[in-house]
């Protein structure tokens, strides 16, 4: 098998890992002000339940992005260079979001203060909504094609990235992550909040069917190969399945199905791009898999590394999901362990 094609598939696998895993923790972050109910105190407890469902795992999830980025650099330097410099502004915004949420997750509980907690919640929500939208916009543009010159430099500017197809793509990832997150909350919590998120999930699955379905059909008709219809139909079937399984309170199945929906979305996106890594807009100056790739030597080395390490990563990362498998409810949340705001302020510089 051609190593460049193998690596194109592996990059798609890394993105799948990223979108399936961080997809739900984006979703949980986005739901931070939507799901919690009750009086002030109870809402804060429910927010902490939400944050703690992803607490032990979100950082490991994010490494899939770093691996996808690093692997693209190693296996497809031209792709990495053109895409990252071409998407400078969207990537900057995404990274600011990831910085904000990462810090907010870790520091939220370090200061026991309502105002501080709310500020961190805003950071978590900013850092979850923004990347959720932007990743969709970015992938929409990759499916549609970018204005490249003959040296494969992006020449379209920032505003051209905000075209209708890409924006609907952004809406699609947002809805899919919201759905994935609410299914995850239903799977990982108990009591009242579980009921609410399951109801929300079954509603969101219908919305996702319309929005993601619409975008997928648009992509199929305008940009994709015939065979990716399989992915579109699979995704549609899974979304219907999410409605059925969440109503039956079979959250494990619902989560599996919403994860497969995201797998199908990646298949559609990468399937549409192939044989290019960045299709040229209207077919001009496309950057192909073969043109963008590293040498066979580098790809061989990287293949061995990936073959040995990826299964290992899956095993120990999967194990942590098993370790932290217990459902959480407001009863599990201890009193805040952080220092009071007054104390933090009192420490003179």
């Amino acid at each position: 098998m051609d190593l460049a094609i193998l690596w194109f598939v592996l990059i798609a696998v890394l993105w799948t890992g990223y979108l399936v895993l961080e997809g739900f923790d984006f979703g949980v972050g986005m739901l931070l002000s939507i799901l919690p109910r009750g009086d002030k105190e109870h809402r804060e407890k429910e927010r902490r339940v939400l944050v703690n469902t992803i607490g032990p795992v979100w950082d490991g999830n994010e490494v899939w992005l770093l691996t996808a980025g690093g692997a693209t650099f190693a296996a497809f330097p031209e792709w990495y260079a053109t895409m990252f410099s071409g998407f400078y502004i969207p990537l900057l915004i995404i990274l600011l979001g990831l910085v904000a949420r990462g810090v907010a997750f870790e520091y939220r509980g370090k200061i026991a203060d309502a105002v501080w907690a709310r500020r961190c919640d805003w950071a978590i929500q900013f850092g979850s909504w923004i990347p959720a939208v932007m990743w969709g916009v970015a992938f929409g543009n990759l499916v549609r094609g970018l204005a490249l010159d003959d040296a494969h430099q992006y020449v379209g500017g920032f505003w051209a990235l905000l075209n209708p197809f890409a924006l609907v793509g952004g809406l699609t990832t947002t809805v899919l992550f919201l759905l994935h997150g609410s299914v995850f909350v239903a799977l990982k919590t108990d009591g009242d909040i579980r009921e609410r998120s399951a109801r929300l999930a079954s509603g969101l699955a219908v919305v996702a069917l319309v929005v993601a379905g619409g975008w997928a059909i648009w992509a199929q008709v305008a940009y994709s190969a015939a065979w990716t219809w399989v992915a579109v139909l699979l995704a549609a079937g899974c979304l219907v399945g999410v409605v059925v399984t969440t109503r039956a309170r079979r959250e494990g199945w619902a989560f599996t199905l919403s994860a497969i929906t995201l797998v199908a979305a990646v298949v559609l996106i990468f399937g549409s791009m192939y044989p290019d890594v960045i299709p040229g807009l209207d077919g001009g100056n496309s950057l192909t898999v073969a043109e963008a790739s590293s040498t066979d030597y580098t790809l061989t080395i990287m293949s061995w590394v990936a073959v040995v390490l990826t299964p290992l990563v899956l095993v120990y990362q999967g194990w942590t999901y098993w370790v932290f498998r217990r459902r959480l409810s407001t009863k599990d949340i201890p009193a805040p362990a952080g220092l009071s705001w007054q104390k933090i302020k009192d420490a003179a510089f």
């Binding site: 490494v63 690093g70 692997a71 590293s294 370790v323 201890p334």
Partner: protein
């Protein structure tokens, strides 16, 4: 400022900032793991209390290291895309290996350690922090492999058809002698930083409690903080020796591989035998090196650092002008745009960063010696000067690490990939050739300002948390939360650790 200058400033700001958090994480993680191991073996309460205390500081610090690290990986493609095109075939591999082999381990097992106190057995919990600690060093190894390749490209050929550097041997890249000098130097410097951090904080606490003179406070100073002082001191001593030895090896390699870097660090104009090491120089270093007046010097020391000989023919070191002449001959004296090329890095920065790197580490030595003296034979000190020294010493290795990197990276200029004098000549890239051409200067300016502001806010939050949690001291009451120590029927208990 043009795009190149902005991209360089942005890289410098974000990288130096990122590297504030890295050495403390690399050094403190194994120290915390060691404390937890001591608790595991001796079952003595104070080790668990110290584990929790320094563990919390480790987590506050690691959070910023992680989030600023994401930007590090992305900005090669975003701001330095032409560099990425040229080096990706070689440079990308260690980066990808870092993510796959090290960073996954770090993130996953840190999650287990933080949230797993009451979820996994004591042994697995202890293994988690050790895996985390080992992976932080492994991360450093791969990142330094990539960096060392830029300093000294090996295992690589230039392909004129694709116009890029292509990897010929991964084993050559991973056994690069530059890497094997830089790795121990970086790791020991990280341990020196963390050792100073632990010893500084513990010393301050020990003195503070001893001065209060209440029996229980003095007892706490003796049983909790004194052991921590000694842990910090011994880490400092071993690491300090390692820093010196590895730095010496690096100096000698650098004279072979990047003579311009070392001669500009010495402001040495013309080549000479038994070159002196100047402790202080006065003069407009920006202008050139002929106006520099070396006020205070140690004869022959620079020659020794570079060659291993204080005097004689073998102690000959090339000067800045020799390097300029030789490089101009080899690589041309004008750029593609017809501009003259200066093969001398900015003198003032290399000269002073080299001295500050070495000089600031002296505070650690002073603290180590003083702390050992004042805690001899089981004593607890209430000497206020010792506690002041402890506090003063804490930031110094951080600064030394930063200046070390500034020296390493600025000293490489004007190259982003410095040529290998004994290797394939074409594997080299001038910094101004590496910047992204597709990104307008306005965008770079905006992103530099935004990142600087965001990082500044985060620095304030980080400092306040580190500061306040330090003042809180070790917790008084700790309990064994492990599943072994708990009542198995009590399944409804709340989480032991929650955000």
């Amino acid at each position: 400022m043009d795009a190149l200058e902005l991209a360089r400033w942005q890289f410098a700001i974000t990288t130096v900032y990122h590297f504030i958090f890295v050495p403390l994480t690399i050094g403190l993680a194994p120290i915390v793991a060691g404390m937890q191991t001591a608790w595991f073996i001796t079952k003595k309460d104070h080790w668990l209390r110290l584990t929790k205390f320094f563990g919390k500081l480790l987590l506050i610090n690691f959070a910023l290291g992680v989030v600023t690290g994401i930007w590090q990986e992305f900005q090669f493609g975003m701001a330095w895309s032409e560099y990425s095109r040229f080096v990706g075939d070689v440079f990308g591999a260690p980066l990808a290996m870092e993510a796959l082999a090290a960073f996954f381990v770090e993130s996953v097992f840190l999650g287990v350690w933080i949230f797993g106190w009451d979820r996994v057995s004591k042994k697995i919990h202890l293994a988690s922090i050790w895996l985390f600690a080992l992976a932080t060093s492994l991360s450093a190894f791969f990142i330094l492999a990539a960096n060392s390749w830029m300093q000294h490209p090996v295992g690589t050929v230039y392909n004129p058809e694709t116009g890029r550097a292509e990897m010929e041997s991964i084993s050559a890249v991973l056994t690069n002698n530059t890497l094997w000098a830089a790795f121990p130097h970086t790791i020991t410097a990280a341990f020196l930083t963390a050792g100073t951090f632990v010893a500084g904080i513990a010393t301050w606490w020990m003195v503070r409690l001893a001065r209060s003179r209440t029996p229980e406070n003095v007892e706490k100073a003796r049983t909790v903080y004194r052991p921590a002082v000694l842990v910090g001191v011994w880490v400092m001593i071993v690491a300090g020796i390692g820093v010196g030895l590895s730095g010496d090896i690096q100096g000698k390699l650098m004279y072979e591989q990047q003579p311009g870097k070392m001669s500009s660090a010495e402001a040495l104009c013309e080549g000479t035998e038994s070159a002196e090491f100047s402790i202080l120089a006065i003069g407009p270093l920006q202008a050139g090196c002929e106006d520099v007046n070396h006020v205070l010097s140690v004869p022959g020391l620079t020659s020794y650092l570079g060659t291993g000989h204080f005097s004689g023919e073998e102690s000959y070191l090339p000067g800045v002008y020799d390097v300029q002449r030789e490089y101009a001959e080899r690589y041309g004296d004008v750029t593609v745009d017809g501009e003259p090329v200066t093969y001398t890095p900015p003198l003032a920065i290399t000269y002073w960063s080299f001295r500050l790197m070495i000089g600031l580490a002296a505070f650690s030595v002073a603290l180590a010696v003083a702390a050992l003296w004042f805690t001899r034979k089981g004593r607890v000190s209430d000497n206020v000067w010792l506690s002041r020294l402890g506090l003063l010493a804490i930031p110094m290795p951080f600064l030394a690490c930063s200046f070390g990197w500034i020296f390493t990276e600025v000293g490489r200029q004007p190259w982003v990939v410095a040529p290998n004098p004994t290797g394939i000549d074409q594997v080299r890239l001038l910094t101004d050739r590496g910047v992204s051409t597709a990104v307008p200067p306005g965008v770079l300016l905006a992103s530099m300002i935004i990142l600087t502001l965001v990082y500044a806010v985060l620095a304030v939050v980080w400092y306040r948390l580190m500061h306040r949690y330090t003042i809180e001291g070790v917790p008084d009451a700790v309990r064994d939360e492990s599943p072994e120590a708990q009542d198995p029927d009590e399944t409804d208990r709340p989480l032991s650790f929650a955000y």
